[in-house]
């Protein structure tokens, strides 16, 4: 196994057995590797335990959860908790709000961030350094600092409790611009110069030549933005003031602190409904997720 990633090395004579030598210098004794595997498996089980408990608990009745709060398998599995969310509490509208906000936010970021990224990567213009400095400066400003005056701005624009208020502040962001700029910088200038000489306008070059080459960066940006938007909490909590605009995290948090605070089964089912779509998306696209972390360092 180690030999797959190990570059060829010259065997070194020092301590150790001949068997160690042939398996490469950075060898790992079978026991050592077994111990590593065991520890990793234990760590993995501990990591995933809360998810297992969440899913199993969501099929239990309140009576069972109260009687045995640390059990795993449900005695008599029930869909009552899910029925209550889907029918009585109409979780569909929160789901729809979250999805709408996430999809529009993703679309906006793909368009706006790649446009700025293109200008910064492939055009020479007055004020370029200022623009780049602004983008980098924005990366440093934490959202907790801006949410109060942002709320004042949004109220003055009459956007409290509206989709506009939920979406507009996140329609473009500096990390996205930075990601697109980095990726576009690697596209050969000759390709773009050739198109300019052929008389193609900048927008045509951007949309017909550069964007089609940016698939992986756009995928990463789309996924990271979707993830951010789906899980975003503080701002929707502040700006969505009626149930008709609640997103899933806001709805869950209000139910979990209100009169249902000790209705374990219901809340676990709610958590499953919020977490499952994003985990499935992650499992399907995990390569892009991890690529995104590695290239931007954000979560």
């Amino acid at each position: 196994m180690t030999s797959q990633t190990r570059p060829p090395v010259t065997p070194v004579r020092a301590s150790g057995t001949a068997a160690d030598r042939t398996s490469g210098v950075r060898r790992h004794s079978p026991t050592g590797r077994a111990v590593t595997y065991v520890l990793l498996v234990v760590a993995l089980l501990v990591t995933l335990l809360p998810f297992a408990w969440m899913v199993l608990g969501s099929f239990k009745t309140q009576a069972e959860l109260t009687a045995d709060p640390n059990g795993f398998l449900p005695d008599a599995p029930t869909f009552a908790n899910y029925r209550q969310w889907l029918v009585d509490l109409d979780i569909g509208r929160f789901f729809g709000n979250t999805l709408l906000v996430a999809v529009v936010t993703v679309a906006g970021n793909l368009v706006f961030c790649s446009m700025v990224g293109y200008a910064l990567a492939k055009m020479e213009f007055a004020g370029k350094r200022v623009l780049l400095a602004l983008v980098l400066g924005m990366l440093m400003i934490p959202s907790t600092v801006t949410f109060i005056p942002l709320f004042v701005t949004v109220s003055r624009l009459g956007l409290v409790n509206s989709y506009g208020g939920l979406i507009l502040p996140f329609l473009a962001n500096a990390i996205g611009v930075f990601l697109m700029r980095q990726f576009m910088s690697d596209i050969p200038d000759s390709l773009i110069e050739a198109a300019r000489i052929d008389g193609a306008g900048e927008f045509r070059i951007f949309s017909r030549i550069v964007l089609p080459l940016c698939g992986p960066a756009l995928a990463t940006l789309a996924i990271l933005t979707f993830l951010f938007s789906w899980n975003n909490f503080l701002w929707p909590l502040v700006v969505a003031q009626n149930e008709d605009r609640f997103t899933l995290p806001v709805a869950i948090s209000l139910y979990s602190t209100g009169q249902n605070a000790s209705n374990y089964g219901l809340l676990l089912a709610g958590a499953v409904l919020v977490v499952t779509p994003i985990v499935l998306l992650f499992l399907a696209l995990q390569r892009y997720f991890i690529q995104g972390i590695a290239s931007t360092g954000i979560k």
Partner: protein, 311 residues
């Protein structure tokens, strides 16, 4: 003859005006490309950041939203009141504890996982990586609901501790254990991000040096401390800065799991800001957010100084 002597001069001159005109055109088009972003940026970031600074020197309240110029200027009064406020001081302490305990712990766990995965784990490598990363993608609010139940007096964690003979406390209802319990959950939620970053960084540790160290008789621990960690410095720095920006703003975990209690033992700066905002004391809350902003900037600076690669 005239044409041949004229041509060499005419071409550069022509070229110059063309390129100048082209540059002006490029500037126009480039800012066109940036226009939607800039508009959003000004309305939803520049204006709020500047006005929140201005707001922090006034007695702005929620009733002043429609008439923001009618507020009175109070100078540094909000800031002095802030530092005299025992609640705010408590939130500073809680946030500091959360950062000082949570960040090294998360980094240690993530580094251990990354090193384990990097050492001869070929089979199931992806399974491990995906598994350890999964908590990162989950909604903090939703997962906090789950942890709230795991951490109850007779919950899963205490049941597990009971197996090894430890009588666990009622984690979230005890002033001494509530914050540590939130820290444990944050380690669980955030270790995946750092693990990925550290795994990428470990690829830069020169194999030959590790091998040479091994030949010279350096044990695994010695090689980790003397070779791997120094090479990993920039990666550790990146990881700690990223983490501290998030940890300094912790809010959601406490909001869902403890409501800031018991007895304000999990009240974070962000939570304090949120509460003041809910009470309508916008100026006071804005002043607190600038203190937080400053803390984030200072901590980042400190980390750069401490962990900066020493060339």
């Amino acid at each position: 003859m005239a044409t041949t002597t004229k041509a060499p001069h005419a071409v550069p001159a022509d070229h110059l005006t063309v390129s100048r005109r082209r540059r002006r055109h490029q500037t126009f088009v480039a800012w066109g490309f940036a226009a939607p972003f800039m508009a959003l940026f000004v309305v939803f970031l520049v204006v709020p950041v500047v006005s929140s600074l201005a707001m922090s020197f006034t007695d702005f309240r929620s009733s002043d939203v429609q008439t923001p110029l009618a507020v009175s200027f109070v100078g540094l009064e909000q800031y002095t009141a802030l530092f005299a406020d025992p609640l705010f001081r408590r939130s500073l302490l809680n946030t500091a504890l959360y950062v000082v305990l949570g960040i090294p712990l998360t980094m240690a766990v993530a580094l251990t996982l990354a090193i384990a995965l990097n050492n001869g784990i070929g089979r199931f490598r992806t399974v491990f990586r995906v598994g350890f990363y999964t908590p990162v993608v989950t909604s903090i609010v939703a997962i906090s609901v789950v942890w709230r139940f795991i951490l109850t007096d007779d919950g899963l964690l205490n049941a597990a501790l009971g197996l090894v003979g430890i009588n666990g406390p009622d984690w979230l209802n005890d002033t001494t254990t509530a914050l540590p319990a939130l820290i444990v959950m944050s380690v669980w939620r955030n270790m995946g991000t750092l693990m990925i970053i550290f795994l990428a960084g470990l690829q830069n540790v020169p194999r030959e040096v590790l091998e040479a160290g091994e030949v010279d008789g350096a044990g695994a621990w010695r090689r980790l401390v003397s070779i791997t960690l120094p090479t990993l410095r920039p990666t550790l720095l990146l990881g700690s800065v990223l983490l501290s920006v998030g940890f300094l703003q912790f809010f959601e975990e406490a909001y869902v799991m403890t409501g800031g209690g018991p007895l304000n033992s999990t009240l974070s700066i962000s939570y304090f800001i949120f509460n003041q905002f809910s009470f309508g004391r916008y100026g006071y809350a804005a002043a607190a957010s600038y203190v937080l902003f400053l803390a984030i900037a200072l901590l980042s600076l400190l980390q750069f100084r401490v962990l900066r690669t020493q060339d």
